[in-house]
Assembly symmetry: C2
Amino acid sequence: MRDDERLPQPVTTDIDLVTLLHALGDPVRMTLLLSYADGAEHSCDPRGLGLEHLHKSTVSHHMRVLREAGVTTTRVAGRNRFVSLRRSDLDTRFPGLLDALLAAATAPAR
Amino acid sequence: MRDDERLPQPVTTDIDLVTLLHALGDPVRMTLLLSYADGAEHSCDPRGLGLEHLHKSTVSHHMRVLREAGVTTTRVAGRNRFVSLRRSDLDTRFPGLLDALLAAATAPAR
DNA sequence: GGGATTGGTGGATGATTGTCAAACCATCCG
DNA sequence: CGGATGGTTTGACAATCATCCACCAATCCC
């Protein structure tokens, strides 16, 4: 596969709210979202994310769901895939939503 | 059943983000949320909500999911149940999230 | 070239879920 | 009382989904 290619993902205007919420309504994918919240690119290696109990193909599946929902983008470079949050696209499509979600995910119970 | 009772629902501090997103990650329940966004109490009659194609027991099921996720509260009065959004509870638990969700649900694609 | 690395694919399986239908329950009213 | 009203419960069924496993594909490196 050629380098610096992007795995298939929806165009910003096609990101659907219900699909997005469905994608985030799973504990594993919420964990991934929080990892990606730092804005950096991440490899697909689930180690260090608290997902060591899951099979790698399971994690791969969850990553695909996030990408197809428009949450993340995946850049292919050699053997590696670099996953990162589509923060500006999400902010364009649903202003304020991502920030509110990330704040909620880290909020203390009250 | 006694009047003015509340159907079982989680305490505010127990509302779980992933559970909430899972509940809203369904088109029927998103439709219900938008109906409830006016802050008023609603009967369980799905007519006028664009859900006429669904069986009443199906709608009842979706209403239960929303209630158990902490999205709505249901007051029992005689034969009727009055469903309404737990706006202040949600604002307390996840500040800004509900507003962002409602804005996103009505946002034009861009 | 050949092994190691990184990650995805496809099938199988069990669990969850959305839907309908029918029965049920409590309440109101004539 | 007895029927109508508003809504829930239960069971059945199909579809979706999360997970694992075995295998595969591309790339990097010795």
